[in-house]
Amino acid sequence: MAGKFVGKPIPPQDAFLKATGTAPYNYDIELPGMLYAKLVTSTVPHGRIKRINVEEALKVPGVVKVVTGKDIPYMVGMYAGDRDLLAIEKVRWVGHPVAAVIAESLEAAERAAELVDVEYEELPAVFDPLEAMKPGAPLIHEHMEKYRRLPVFKPVPGTNIANKFRVVRGDVETALKEADIVIEEEFHIKHVSHAFMETQNVIAHWHLDGTIEIWTSWQNPNPVRQIMAESFGIPYNKIIVKIPFVGGGFGGKAGLGWEALVAVLSREAGHRPVKLVLSRKEQFTSGACREGFHAFVKAGFKKDGRFIAYDVKYVLDAGGYADYTVNVGRAVAYSADGSYEIPNIRCEAYTVYTNKVPTTALRGFGYSESHWVLEQVIERAAKKLGMDSAEVRRINLIKPGVSITATGERLREDVGNPRKVLESILQEIGWGKPSEKPKEPWKIRAKGVALLVKGPAQPPKAPSSAAIKFNEDGTINLLVSTGNFGQGTVTALAQIVAEEFGVPLESVRVDWIRDTHSAPYSWQTVGSRGLFTDGIAVLNAVKDAKRQIFKVASEALRCPEEYLELVNGEVRVKGKPWMKIPLKDIVMGYSYPDGTSIGGPIIGRGVYMSVHTTNLDPETGQGHPTIFHTYGGTGVEIELDLLTGEIKVLKAVQAFDIGRVINPLLLKQQFHGGFIMGMSIALFEEIKFDERGWVLNPNFTSYYVARIKDVPPVVEKFVETPQADGPYGARGVGELTMIGVAPAIANAIFNAIGVKLNNLPMTPEEVWKAIKAQRPDLIEKAVKEYQKKMKEVKAVA
């Protein structure tokens, strides 16, 4: 069905305000009588707080109060529940907030924060998760069994293991013995930052009547409310969370942020509103980033290319708290098999505390990590088998309706078409055709491909809802709590509503502000689920509104409902277009000429509820973890400078089976944005720590994020295999677009020169080191080529 709006390249609804610089972000908001908070943070990686001296700080004019952890001993969290608001008794990383100063101005707050004097008794610290897992390592959370966590998570009290998760299917040991070849490797990923433009910031006002009003730069309001209500023991309806425009989220604004802390600060400061804004450095050192990652794999293949055994151990370096990262530790394990059917599989994932900055979700969490490993394993195996890696992928690809995943889920017929994804990438990138030879003989060009699949990592019960409210003129307010932090989902939702009612797109408005009080519930906007889950809720709300409208119209037009249709904003009698009533005359109730009226204001409501997801078996990880699977992949052509180790991406192809394209413009933007983010993380990004756990590069001059000059052309390939229960057949895609980039690049290098790049990021130095260790001859040859070329140039001149 080609729609009027659905399937059309419609610009995001908020583009105009953003482009004119007038969109109101949380950072811009000031409330009357507002105070400012500043954090005092730990300067030791692990220690007991012996004394906090606030006398000098209190003398600074304008200071209202200095609050410390023992004043507000709450523990909060989404999954592991292991976070304090301010350090209670001990600090767990350099940057751990210890106290908060509240003052009339930011200047006063900062001046006073400098004067808070904290004395620590240092404890032995541990920075390497592999060390932290060993018996006898210093304990970072001594009482993790007491935390209020989701029951599916399994910490190991008395150790630093915040969660242990296993997925087991078949018999890996035997299969490894039966394999013709076994690939054995280690892979590592460094910590990375979400690098959103707007750092986390919150305004909270704990009103005198106990109502808590929160303004925050966050992805979704509901988890904030939920976690605060549960931790404080306050009724949900007393907490109102409002989110205006958000300058980027990328998973780093999911769950709970600083809202609970700032709310308590507001209470402590005499119920005045308080604002906390993190500086970029604080974002790096006190906020949470993506975890460090280690994988140890054994993979067995038969001579004919069949992938028969996969034995993986993942260790996640979660830092000082692991609240959301315990869920990363699940996702990485249940996504271990990617787009392939592997009959014998065993994955163990350990999420481990260390004395480093805490970690959380980041776009595609778990899946980025598992695919960095898996897609390289396929490439290595192909080479060892003497086969084309594309062929090895084809042989092992899942078959819709037939294959069973690592968690024992039989994939549905309409799950998507990974084969078509693969072939379209291969074709576009010119697989099998050698790259053009670069003019500079010390450089080489190569191609690489990686496939991937992802679904939303969420609990089995994670519903959504939507409401459609009509105004007197027939325009529509669409009420959702779908986060709007750059993806454009709400534009797509508005398109759906406009399509269904046949009204102009401008007639459908989604407010800028998400708010727990007036918007219907949605669990979270994460995991690429927004369009899928909230889209279904919206379609159900449309259906509900239409039912009410037809009921009134049927009475007014004296015509049975089944003979009515909604066209161009009017209810008409089928085949008699002159018998009609415009929507505006129905949606507030219909009035007969004599003034008697029927019906009333129309509010359509709709819900989404996941139907086939289940908890996973605690021992084997078997069950249905996700509501859909989107298959996709990335192909790249790269150029490697052997002199410096520098990789440049010349061309990229992104292909995804998104089921149905609702808005090709927004989709392309996701394909591009995801590619850039993926490439930036693949080639550049790394949070560096010194030997005492301090972040060495908490800023954008030494934490490098890709610039426009680094970005190649990206070709988009849409594959559309509709999913029966998706909105118009659509599936989610937002996060996925970055996952394949890193393994595709590494595979290209491996294909060209056989050098294994097991560590992310693949910075020039990292690549140079790998080449030097594995193929030093290539570097010396490159230098010779360079000299030769220089002499030629000279000779010509």
Partner: protein
């Protein structure tokens, strides 16, 4: 340069904006160690924000007209006043004669920063990673220093004493940098390697005087490799003494990579830096000798 600050606000200070050089020198004399001069402020304000400096008095030079000029005199060279911004300099036609400086200035940061930051500020900041000092040293530039007591000139090479340490006494001000007229048959270039980094991991400036097929004189200066710019003397000698300089370029690069001081830091390891010195030497010599 920024290390990342937890602070949004600056420490308290008194702001002065003198209108004449004399007034500026008097202020500097009066406040001595308590004062810091500000040119573009890009570096100074970042340092203050990070609480690495807390001067009680900030003396803004931008109101002093005589510090705002770049003047080239044929045969004498180029004099760049203390408040000349990097972009003003980049647009100044005669800069092209000073190849290495031209390269360095045009590629610093981004246009917004170059609109504020000055050459003299870039030099006085004396951060190991900044770009103009190696170029200035390779070109034999000198710093002009004034105080109420008088004037002196110091070669840039000696002016930079360490990271964030320069040869400047309290009360003294750098009024200009002077770059002498390039020698006949000379050619200079500056190259930096900063892929995946805002700042150079390694930079090199080369200034070569050719004499037929041979190299009569050469200066090779490496930036960002250590706490101060490094002059490679042995490498330069190897190039000068070579009958066929084109045959020994990699040898020169190797010597340079072994002779200069290089350190590991957040941007690169010592090992990789030494490798880059070798590679960049090849590249820069290709540019200046070709």
């Amino acid at each position: 340069m920024s290390f990342g600050s937890p602070w949004f606000t600056l420490p308290e200070f008194t702001y002065h904006k003198p209108k004449t050089l004399k007034e500026a020198l008097e202020l500097l004399d009066k406040y001595g160690e308590e004062a810091k001069v500000m040119a573009g402020g890009v570096g100074l304000l970042a340092f203050m924000k990070e609480r690495l400096m807390a001067p009680s008095h900030v003396i803004d030079l931008k109101g002093v007209p005589e510090l705002g000029q770049a003047i080239y005199k044929e045969g004498e060279g180029l004099t760049i006043g203390a408040t000349v911004t990097l972009n003003e300099l980049a647009r100044y036609g005669p800069l092209k004669k000073f190849g290495a400086l031209h390269d360095a200035v045009r590629d610093i940061a981004d246009p917004i920063i170059r609109n504020r930051a000055t050459l003299v500020g870039n030099l006085c900041e004396a951060i190991p990673w900044v770009d103009t000092p190696p170029a200035l040293i390779a070109l034999g530039a000198e710093v002009e220093i004034r105080s109420l007591k008088g004037e002196r000139r110091v070669p840039v090479k000696d002016f930079i004493k360490g990271p964030v340490e320069i040869d400047l006494e309290p009360g003294e001000l750098v009024t200009a940098v002077h770059v002498p007229e390039p020698r006949r048959n000379s050619r200079s270039r500056f190259i930096k390697y900063n892929t995946g980094s805002e700042f150079a991991l390694v930079s090199v400036a080369a200034n070569v005087v050719m004499d037929g097929g041979r190299v009569r004189d050469v200066s090779l200066v490496y930036g960002a490799v250590s706490s101060t710019p490094q002059v490679a003397v042995k490498a330069a000698d190897a190039l000068k003494s070579a009958e066929k300089p084109w045959e020994v370029l990699d040898e020169v690069g190797r010597i340079a990579s072994e002779e200069v001081e290089a350190v590991s830091d957040v941007l690169a390891s010592e090992e990789y830096r030494r490798h880059l010195i070798r590679v960049l030497t090849l590249r820069v010599l290709r540019e200046v000798m070709g």
